[in-house]
């Protein structure tokens, strides 16, 4: 089987079987990355365009390498957000790219819904690489892959996500992904950064970080952005670190072999103690490696990979 949709805009509506399909396909992809010659001809003749309206180093590099390891041709377009207002609209930019023959368009955009707008406009497959506070599906997929690899399962695990949930697309995609595969998701963070109604997504909101960490199998730390302080959303990084920072004492509340994860880039010493970030339980670097593998799988599946099995099924 293949993926049922043309695009990957989010995990909200992605069925569990399709999430598993992506994770299954990421495993051999990881094998390719670990080879001496990291190149397979799978996507030869396919073109991927990354369109980034927001600064990003790792996501963009990750997509770029994923495509190159699969022999796709890639090009990156950086569009400053300010030029959106004075110049070409997103849809016109998209049409231009489509006219050049792109098979896959990867979009990073500061506004929620941008990927869906693009997906509606284009015949090409659209991969959402983060749209505002909406979703960042490949991040959640690589997180699921990493946890599954380390723990051998997702079902029944307790996952604590700590930090600025309100502005986090990573948190939203992870809530959908982990709950769909049977994990229990708990959230903790400043009340001012907890979005209303988030329980309806299937997560539990904890008043104290300690409650979220208690017996957790996965501790997922989100980046706290200093701008939120200027917006009056929390008093400051010092207090944040005291109330919500992950340190050795707090990590002890989780199960002994709990995984520590972070989508990066980290504010060391703010949301996470440097010793924890570099500690034995941290899988933060492996998340990055797995990101390439998962994106290879997504590119493969969205360009028609896997669908031939439907016939022989």
């Amino acid at each position: 089987m293949g993926l049922s949709g043309k695009d990957l805009v989010g995990l909200q509506h992605l069925p569990a079987e399709e999430i598993k399909l992506i994770l299954d396909n990421a495993l051999p992809m990881k094998g390719i990355i670990q080879r001496q010659i990291k190149k397979v001809p799978t996507l030869r003749g396919h073109a991927m365009v990354t369109v980034f309206y927001e600064a990003s180093t790792r996501t963009r590099a990750s997509f770029d390498l994923a495509a190159k390891y699969l022999s796709a041709d890639t090009i990156g377009i950086t569009a400053a957000t300010s030029s959106v207002k004075k110049g070409e609209s997103l849809r016109d930019t998209a049409r231009t790219i489509a006219a050049m023959g792109a098979d896959v368009v990867v979009l990073r955009h500061p506004l929620a819904g941008a990927a869906e707008l693009l997906a509606r406009t284009l015949k090409a497959a659209v991969i959402n690489a983060g749209d505002g506070a909406h979703e960042h599906p490949t991040q959640a997929l690589l997180d699921l892959f990493t946890v599954n690899e380390k723990k051998g399962r997702i079902n029944g695990l307790k996952v604590a996500i700590i930090g600025d949930i309100l502005h986090s697309r990573v948190a939203r995609s992870n809530i959908w992904g982990f709950t769909r595969l049977g994990a229990q998701v708990r959230l903790a963070g400043p009340a001012t950064l907890m979005p209303p109604g988030v329980e309806q997504m299937g997560a539990r909101v904890c008043g104290r970080i300690e409650d979220a960490l208690d017996g957790a199998d996965v501790v997922y730390i989100l980046r706290i952005q200093r701008e939120r302080q200027q917006q009056g959303l929390f008093p400051g990084v010092r207090e944040y670190s005291r109330l919500f920072g992950l340190n050795a004492a707090r990590l002890k509340l989780a199960v002994p072999d709990a995984l520590v994860m972070h989508p990066g880039p980290m504010n060391r010493g703010v949301e996470i103690d440097p010793e924890i970030a570099d500690g034995l339980q941290s899988v933060i670097t492996e998340q990055v490696t797995n990101g390439v593998a998962v994106r290879m799988a997504v590119l493969y599946l969205l360009t028609g990979g896997g669908s031939q099995h439907e016939i022989t099924y």
């Binding site: 869906e116 749209d131 506070a133 979005p195 209303p196 109604g197």
Partner: protein, 428 residues
């Protein structure tokens, strides 16, 4: 010039009477109503099976001229009003320049007369440039024909200035129409704050952003005695505040838009920018509350907040699109489908909220079918079902979330001063 409207059901909210009567118009005025009137030399308009009501009044319209003629003009907006069954509309002052002085009020009235489709009553700005700093020349504007004052689109942020505005408008016996939105609470929001804004990742506008200012303006209305009209009420809390204030005898009235009594924030799913409106589409509980407010009389007016925008402006990311949707040409269908067919309002109550009640608030000599009154008349086919097709709109705006929706109830004819300006969707 004579016109006989024959065989229709007359609905006159001024008398509360509903009955099958013919209506004779002579020289722009209602000359006679009665059973089986003879036509004589009059043109006969067969209204059998249809409702004959005073010309509908929409007291909340954005005509965009001067300044934003790509979105709408006084002419295109007037045509949209006539197609929607409206004979009178009041237009908001957030044009460019802002309608904050007599010259612009006169300009709008002149352009509207030239368009000649419907009566256009300008609403003047409360503050100079609607900037919320200094009072605009309300007395001058009243003399030039302004019918109320509002900074609609923008709240009057300073309570002190709003109090002065109410004192001054009260002196002129004029109504203040308040756009209630505490910007510090709404800050940056683009939809209702709740579960769906969380799922969609869009910044939310909490219900309290509206309610805080509704409460403030009720207190100021009580203190100053100035009549205050709350524009586009959207939350259950606002309905409750207005209900309590009216029970205490405060001179406060309220309106609701068809989209706020029809749609919930669910409509935003999929990021259709035609659903982006201020105040935002709220929850099912809010929709139920405004419907209850309509039924019990707390909300006495239905107004569209017709807010046209160009396709280019709306065909963008949700966060970048301007707020607003068109409403003139879908209002009657939505009122009938959502409120009358469902039994929330009787036809008489619905017509009152579209005619007599807004006329009373604005002090217009309209909204009745009495002998001698201006022959502004709307004929509605309450049984007609139709599908909303924005391409058919006379408005320049296509930004409606109701495209493709099947509605029951359609304006059949619009008569302005005895002259048929619209019949079966076609403008004369």
């Amino acid at each position: 010039m004579k016109l006989l409207i024959k065989g229709g059901t007359l609905i006159d909210p001024a008398t509360g009477k509903v009955g099958e009567l013919d209506l004779l118009v002579i020289d722009g005025r209602i000359a006679k109503t009665g059973v089986n009137l003879s036509a004589g030399d009059a043109e006969v308009l067969d209204a059998a099976g249809k409702l004959v009501t005073p010309g509908l009044i929409d007291m909340h319209v954005h005509l965009r001229e001067p300044g934003f003629e790509a979105k709408e003009t006084i002419f295109s907006g007037s045509c949209a009003a006539a197609r929607g069954g409206f004979t009178s509309i009041a237009c908001m002052p957030n044009t460019n320049p802002v309608a904050d002085c007599a010259a612009i009020i006169s300009y709008i009235r002149g352009r509207a007369r030239k368009a000649g489709k419907v009566n256009v009553y300008p609403i003047g700005a409360i503050t100079s440039g609607s900037k919320g700093a200094e009072l605009a020349e309300m007395g001058d504007m009243q003399e030039a024909g302004a019918v109320a004052f509002s900074d609609d689109g923008q709240p009057v942020i300073s309570a002190g200035l709003m109090r002065r505005a109410m004192q001054y408008a009260g002196m002129l016996n004029m109504t203040i129409i308040s756009h209630c939105e505490d910007k510090s609470l709404a800050s940056g929001g683009v939809m209702h704050e709740g579960y769906l804004s969380t799922v969609l990742g869009l910044p939310g506008i909490p219900a309290c952003a509206e309610e805080v200012m509704v409460a403030r303006d009720i207190l100021l209305a009580e203190e100053t005695g100035c009549p205050v009209h709350i524009a586009h009420v959207s939350t259950a809390g606002s309905v409750r505040l207005v209900r309590e204030a009216r029970a205490r005898g405060i001179r406060v009235t309220a309106e609701v838009t068809p989209h706020h009594f029809t749609l919930t924030d669910e409509a935003v799913t999929g990021y259709n920018t035609s659903t982006k409106v201020n105040p935002p589409l709220r929850t099912g509980a809010d929709v139920a509350a405004v419907r209850q407010g309509l039924a019990d009389g707390t909300i006495s007016v239905i107004a569209t907040d017709h807010a046209p925008h160009t396709i280019e402006e709306k065909d963008v990311e949700y966060g970048l699109a301007p707020f607003g949707m068109v409403g003139l040409e879908t209002a009657v269908g939505l009122v009938w489908t959502e409120l009358v067919a469902t039994g929330i309002l009787t036809p008489l109550e619905a017509v009152a909220k579209l005619t007599l009640n807004p006329a009373t608030i604005l002090g217009l000599p309209k909204g009745e079918l009495a002998v001698g009154a201006d022959a502004d008349i709307t004929i509605i086919d309450p049984a007609a079902t139709w599908t909303v097709d924005p391409e058919q709109f006379a408005s320049k705006g296509r930004n409606t979330p109701f495209a493709g929706r099947v509605l029951q109830g359609l304006p059949y004819a619009t008569i302005l001063g005895g002259r048929i300006v619209m019949r079966e969707g076609a403008l004369a």
